[in-house]
Structures are given as structure tokens and as C-alpha cells.
Symmetry: C6
Subunit: 74 residues, 6 copies
């Protein structure tokens, strides 16, 4: 399964996303993803040292700034 | 709804945008967006720790430098 | 008006450009722009804390390293 | 062999991947790769100074944020 | 003149190039350029605070990591 | 000669490559390159202050993270 298909298979699941930039870790439900790995998360929280720091809610993340993504509880 | 369509659905609303670079957080009305997530904001303010730091007014943001975008008051 | 058209509408005007990288703020007259937001500025100055630091003159800026651009005196 | 073919030849092997961003080194089995060097790793660990810091498990890495990749034990 | 044409017009001239990354300023003769603003410089020097730090000679620079370029002595 | 052709002309030679990211300088034999400047190096060493720090061996480098490349002993 190609990497983008792997991410598509995670739609509907809680994911952990690490990004470039200052606020760098998000966790939320992956609502949609496209071939550029742009992500739409719902119920997303900004995380710090494994703790929730701020509720963002519905958020779109630009794919080129995603460093990595993995499903939670796997 | 794909991530870029989600962002298009926010046109006319106040959005919170986090970017790469030193002045990293903007809030303003999303006036237009294209498929690269280049954004045109109006009445935009540069934010720091949740406070307005500087009024930018009409500003165009390069999509590849957008880390995340979410609607305000949601 | 799409974001790239908004920038094209600024040709001939003074613009403020924030970029990635160490010398991050430029101001000058926008002479030309293409769809990647590559910019050609004339009479450009490198700015620091709102003051002119160095005259660059004619300068080309790579679009992907533009964080934001806005017209001055608006 | 072109660079992307070289990476494809590593599928099924343990690889060492260095990335941009704060958590910058991963090691795991390369499960799939596409032409953008997006990678799917399984059994991936986040590394620090050559030691395992955290088990990530199944993880997708965005190709543009991969600095380098090399096979382990070569 | 579009920005990439402006850069092409500088072939054969001494240029000043600022880049992302640790060694961020180069000066040399622009030998060739393509539409991505990949640059081939000859007789290039790495600069620090306006002084030559190291002779690189013939060097190719990746366009996406070019922040800005301008002709010298203009 | 366009910049990408210049790099192709270096296949088989020792090259010095500076990259974005923490481990930023590599030296090795350029085994292959594609039009994105993705590089395959063999016998590559990670360098620090002009000294070999670590042998990487066969390594693939993502082109967009290459800041510059030049031939050694030129």
C-alpha cells in the first residue's frame, strides 16, 4: 500500500500529526486527506509533551508541513 | 469534504492561520483561497500570545508556508 | 479575486514582503510577479524593526520563501 | 540507478531516516515508498543519539521533509 | 519582465544570493539558471558579514532554497 | 549548461553537499541524480568543520533539502 493510501486508510481514526513550525504536534480525528497529504482534522488538540494544550476543533493542515502521521492506539 | 474544499467553505469567515517564519500567527477574514492554499485575508492582524500585535490589513499568504488554518468561534 | 490576482493587482505599488530566512523583511516597488509568487522588486530595502537596514535595489525573491505580502499605505 | 529507484530497492529493509523538524531521526522497516519519497515505515522508532526514544509503530513520513535515507547494516 | 526572466538577464554578471540554511550568502558569476531558479555559479565565495569566508568555486544552488538574488554593483 | 546538467556532469566524482536540517554536510561519490536534484551518494560521510564525523555509506538525499552542491578538488 503506497504511503498516501496508508494515510487514506486512517480516515475516521484518531491520528497523531507532527508538523514543522512552532506549534508542532496535533491529535484529532482524520476527516479527510488528499494526495498532497493536506489533512482535515476534527476535534483536534494541540499537544505539548503528550498533554493537551489547546483545543483547535476543525483544522486544516498543509501537507508539505506534515513531518509524520501515525494512527493512535496501534 | 477534501481539505481544500473545507478551506474554501471558510471564505467570508474569520480564520486563524499559523505559518512558518518569525511572525507566525494571523487572524482575519478569509477573502479568497486557491488550490495551493494561497490565502487572501482582509482586516488581518498579526497575533502574539492571543493578542493583536499589528494591523496588516489586506494580506496575501503563500500556501506552502501555512502550517494550519481553522475557523474562529467554532 | 484569487490570491495570485490580488498580488498582480499590486504591481507598481510599494509592498511589504516577509520571507523565510535570516534577512526576512523587504520593502520596495513590486515590478513583476508570476503565478508562483516569485517577485521582482525595484528600489528594495531590507528592513529591521521598521527601519531601513540596507539598500538592495533590484531584487528577485523566490515565491516559496515568501511568507506574506501586503501593500503599504493601505 | 536513479535515487528514487535506489530507495524503492530498500523496501523490506531496516532504514535510517533523517528529517526536518524537531523529532528528526526515525528507524524502521521501509514498507512502501512513492516517487515523492513519501515513506511508510512499520515498527518505527524515534531515535536520539543512536538510542530508541519512543516506539511510533506504523508511520507515514512526507517526502519533502526527508533530508536523507540510508539502509542500516550496510 | 517576469521574475525568472529578470534572473536570466543576469547571466554573466556577479550576483549576490541569499539562501536558507546555515551557510546562507554566496557571491559569484551567474553561469546558468533554469525556470526553478536553480543556479549555477562560478568562482563563488561564501560570504559572512560582507567578507569572503571560503572559496567554493563552481557550485549549483537548489532554487527552492534561494531566498533572494540581486545583481552586484547596481 | 543548465544547473541540473552541471550536476549530472559530476556523476562519478566526489561532491560536497550542504543540506537543510541538523546533520547538514555530506561528502561522497555522486552515483546518480535526477531532475529534482535527488542524489544518490556512495561512501558518504557526514562532515563537521571539515572533518569526517560518521560514515553513512550509501545514502539518498531529497533534492528540495539540498542547499548547494559542488565538486571537490576543483
Amino acid at each position: 500500500m503506497f504511503p498516501n493510501k496508508k494515510v487514506q486508510s486512517l480516515v475516521g481514526r484518531m491520528v497523531h500529526v507532527e508538523m514543522k513550525g512552532e506549534r508542532s504536534v496535533l491529535e484529532g480525528v482524520l476527516t479527510s486527506v488528499d494526495d498532497y497529504l493536506n489533512l482535515h482534522l476534527s476535534g483536534a488538540n494541540e499537544m505539548e509533551n503528550g498533554e493537551r494544550r489547546r483545543l483547535l476543533g476543525s483544522v486544516v493542515v498543509r501537507g508539505n508541513n506534515v513531518v509524520l502521521i501515525h494512527p493512535m492506539n496501534e
